[in-house]
């Protein structure tokens, strides 16, 4: 089991355990080294104290010698104070040194020899000399003893022993110093070396770990990026034992599945809709979606095929229809132009009619007034005639009575016989006159009666004429108003027809365009059919080639569908019976 096959957690665990172990070792070694240094330091201090004590011990002995010599020279007791003090100091330092070097037997031996030497010097030299000195007589003897160097032998021995002791202690100091230096070096070595090793280890292991994880993750990211980019031509298979290896293998599986899906989609793209996509699980939404897409696509393609066929047929028929519509619209346009011209003519006529109606209206009004005046005149005439008739009746009555009188006169004349002859003639003449008067009066009466009748008739007729004329005038006024409105209406019709003309022309061009578009549509539908035939819905239900199903294009002239025959002659057929919005704006004058 190599390091590479370990899991990342274990790798980290191992690494950190190693680091901790190294640190602990380092710490322990450092601790021990420091302790050693401390020990050595203590030793050194102690040795320094010993050396100092040795110096002071030497000094105390020297002080004793100096005090003794001072006493020897002066003989004064006060010079003996250093000797006494030196003795005490010597004892004190000797005790200290004995205690301090208790673990060093050779040194103890040296110290005992020093102590013995000092004691020997003091007892055999100093005390003797001092004793000699005390007595005046022996003073010179004491001084001679001193000058003979009796004490020097002990002092030299003491100094030699002290030097030996010192040297030994100095050697110990050197040994301790070396040991301390060694310990320091070890500590330094451990600290710096361990730290360096730790850092190096950390760097190396960290780099290795990072590299391992980063490499794997980079590979994974690259694969994911490639997958995201859509590239599925990848091999993510890895022999790594860690999680990244698992991740990469899983990604490889995913890529393979995606390749399968992609292959299925490519199959669909190639137009093969016959195979279903294998679902990897119930959660495989892509496969489900692809399957749904397949089903939909099959449905859509089938429908689209049918629709395309229908569109092709419809476009063909629409093309014919559009052409028919176009030609119809052209005819319409011509008809609308003619209608416009006719309406303009009609407008002129209506204007003329309106003028005429206005004049007629004036005339009719005047006629009505005239008729009324005539009626009045006739009434007056009738009244006059009636008066005449009355007067004529009087004349008639007078004539009748005259006639009667003349007859009576004739009778009288006849009865008078011959005498009445002349009178008879007169009476006869009178009677004739009366008869003529009567006849004339009767004729006048008859004539006046007839005149009265005629006048009355004329009056009645005039009376009936006046309202008729008035009615005529009113009607003419209405006609005039209606004509004006007609004029406006005709102008509007004209405008409407012009608009219609424009619309029709637009329609014509639109129809032409529509025909072109229909042709294009038919072409597009054929193309669509060809395009759709790319898809294989099922092996059996393969859309037939477009050319086979496409109906033979109809000739544009063949579009003689329910097309209203357009009159090529003058004018258009205007439907005046049905009312439209414009008509509602006008009032209808029903006569």
């Amino acid at each position: 089991m190599s390091f590479g096959t370990l899991s990342i957690g274990r790798k980290f665990g191992l690494t950190f355990t190693s680091l901790v172990l190294i640190s602990v070792i380092m710490s322990a070694v450092s601790f021990l080294s420091l302790n050693e240094i401390k020990n050595q330091d203590e030793w050194t201090t102690k040795t320094y104290e010993i050396l100092e004590a040795t110096d002071e011990m030497l000094a105390s002995v020297v002080n004793q010698e100096t005090g003794m010599r001072g006493f020897l020279i002066s003989g004064e007791d006060e010079f003996l104070e250093p000797f006494i003090e030196g003795q005490a100091a010597f004892q004190e330092h000797m005790e200290f040194l004995m205690t301090a070097t208790i673990d060093d037997l050779p040194q103890q031996e040296l110290l005992r020899r020093l102590s013995a030497t000092e004691e020997k010097w003091r007892t055999t030299v100093a005390d003797v000399q001092i004793g000699l000195m005390r007595s005046f007589a022996t003073r010179e003897q004491a001084r001679e003893s001193e000058s003979s160097g009796a004490g020097k032998k002990y002092m030299d021995s003491f100094r030699a022993l002290t030097g030996e002791f010192y040297e030994e202690e100095a050697n110990l100091l050197a040994i301790h110093s070396v040991a301390k230096d060694n310990a320091k070096g070890l500590a330094n070595l451990v600290i710096f070396g361990g730290s360096s090793a730790l850092v190096l280890f950390a760097i190396v292991v960290g780099w290795l770990l990072t590299r391992s994880i980063s490499q794997g993750l980079t590979q994974a990211v690259t694969i994911v990026r490639e997958v995201a980019r859509g590239n599925l031509e990848l091999n993510a298979k890895s022999d790594r034992g860690d999680e990244i290896g698992t991740l990469l293998n899983a990604m490889d599986t995913m890529v393979n599945d995606l390749q399968d899906m992609s292959a299925a989609a490519e199959q669909i793209a190639d137009g093969d809709l016959s195979n279903d996509v294998r679902e990897r699980s119930v959660d495989d939404r892509l496969a489900l979606a692809l399957n749904a897409m397949l089903v939909k696509l099959r449905d859509v393609i089938t429908n689209a095929t049918n629709s395309a066929n229908n569109v092709a047929e419809a476009a063909d028929s629409m093309s014919g229809t559009s052409e028919a519509l176009s030609s119809g619209a052209s005819s319409q346009a011509a008809a609308a132009e003619e209608a416009s011209a006719s309406i303009e003519e009609m407008t002129a006529n209506i204007s003329q009619t309106a003028d005429n109606a206005g004049q007629t209206e004036k005339i009719a009004t005047k006629s009505a007034a005239d008729a009324k005046a005539s009626g009045d005149a006739v009434e007056k005439a009738v009244t006059a005639m009636k008066t005449i008739a009355d007067k004529i009746n009087i004349i008639q009555e007078i004539a009748r009575q005259t006639d009667l009188l003349a007859l009576n006169a004739a009778v009288e004349a006849a009865r008078a016989g011959a005498h009445g002859k002349g009178f008879a003639v007169v009476a006869s003449e009178v009677r004739k006159l009366a008869e003529r008067s009567q006849t004339a009066a009767a004729e006048i009466s008859q004539l006046s009666g007839e005149t009265v009748d005629a006048s009355s008739e004329a009056g009645r007729m005039l009376e009936s004429l006046v309202p008729n004329i008035q009615h005529t005038a009113d009607l003419v006024q209405e006609i005039s108003a209606a004509t004006r409105e007609q004029n406006v209406g005709a102008e509007q019709i004209n405008q409407a027809i012009r608009e219609l003309d424009r619309v029709i022309q637009r329609n014509a061009s639109a129809a032409q365009q529509s025909a072109t578009t229909s042709h294009e549509l038919a072409g597009q539908a054929t193309e669509l059919q060809e395009v759709i035939s790319y898809f294989r819905v099922a092996d059996s239900d393969r859309p037939a080639p477009a050319h086979a199903r496409r109906p033979a294009p109809r000739a544009p002239a063949a579009a003689s569908a329910p097309r209203k025959p357009v009159k090529v002659g003058k004018g258009v057929e205007l439907d005046m019976t049905s009312e439209d919005e414009l008509d509602k704006e006008f009032e209808r004058y029903a006569s």
């Binding site: 009667l404 007859l407 009576n408 004739a410 009778v411 009865r415 004739k432 003529r436 006849t439």
Partner: protein, 169 residues
């Protein structure tokens, strides 16, 4: 009416022509009744009147059913149509009443008749009268003196004494 005037003038001229030729003339009053022209001697005619208001006599003879007042005297009105066997006819505007002098029981008295129209007073030659042929029984012949031709029309001359001699009951 110039035509009629001329006719009347020519008739007058004819009368005047007749007068010097024949001495035997008589003056006749020509009147009409039911489109028939009758003549009567002018001596018999007392007066020609406009139709008067008549008073109907109750339960009177249909020959003379009414009375009139002629200047204060009561005169019976003879229904000449009834007398001559003619159908009754309504009064016309030309109708006149003739007051006739008759002798009743040798006493002169007056009688009125309604005629449709008094035409003229003419001189007629007596010899021109033609007797009424005694053929029909329709006409009471004793009432007519004869027939005279006048302007191509026949004028029946009434026998006044008989016509107006009312039959006694």
């Amino acid at each position: 009416m110039p035509q009629s005037t001329q006719t009347v003038a020519s008739a007058g001229a004819k009368v005047h022509q007749l007068t010097p030729a024949k001495s035997e003339t008589e003056t006749l009053l020509i009147f009409k009744l039911s489109e028939q022209t009758f003549g009567i001697e002018v001596e018999r005619v007392s007066e020609i009147m406009d139709p008067q208001n008549t008073a109907r006599v109750p339960n009177a003879d249909p020959l003379a059913p009414t009375l009139i007042n002629v200047r204060g005297s009561i005169v019976p009105v003879l229904d000449l149509r009834n007398r001559l066997g003619m159908k009754p006819a309504p009064q016309k505007h030309t109708s006149r009443m003739l007051v006739i002098d008759i002798t009743l029981n040798d006493e002169p008295c007056k009688l009125a008749v309604m005629v449709d129209e008094v035409e003229d007073v003419i001189e007629a030659v007596t010899e021109d009268l033609v007797s009424v042929p005694e053929l029909g029984i329709r006409w009471p012949a004793d009432c007519f003196r004869g027939v005279s031709k006048r302007q191509d029309k026949l004028v029946i001359l009434l026998e006044a004494s008989n016509v107006f001699a009312l039959p006694t009951h």
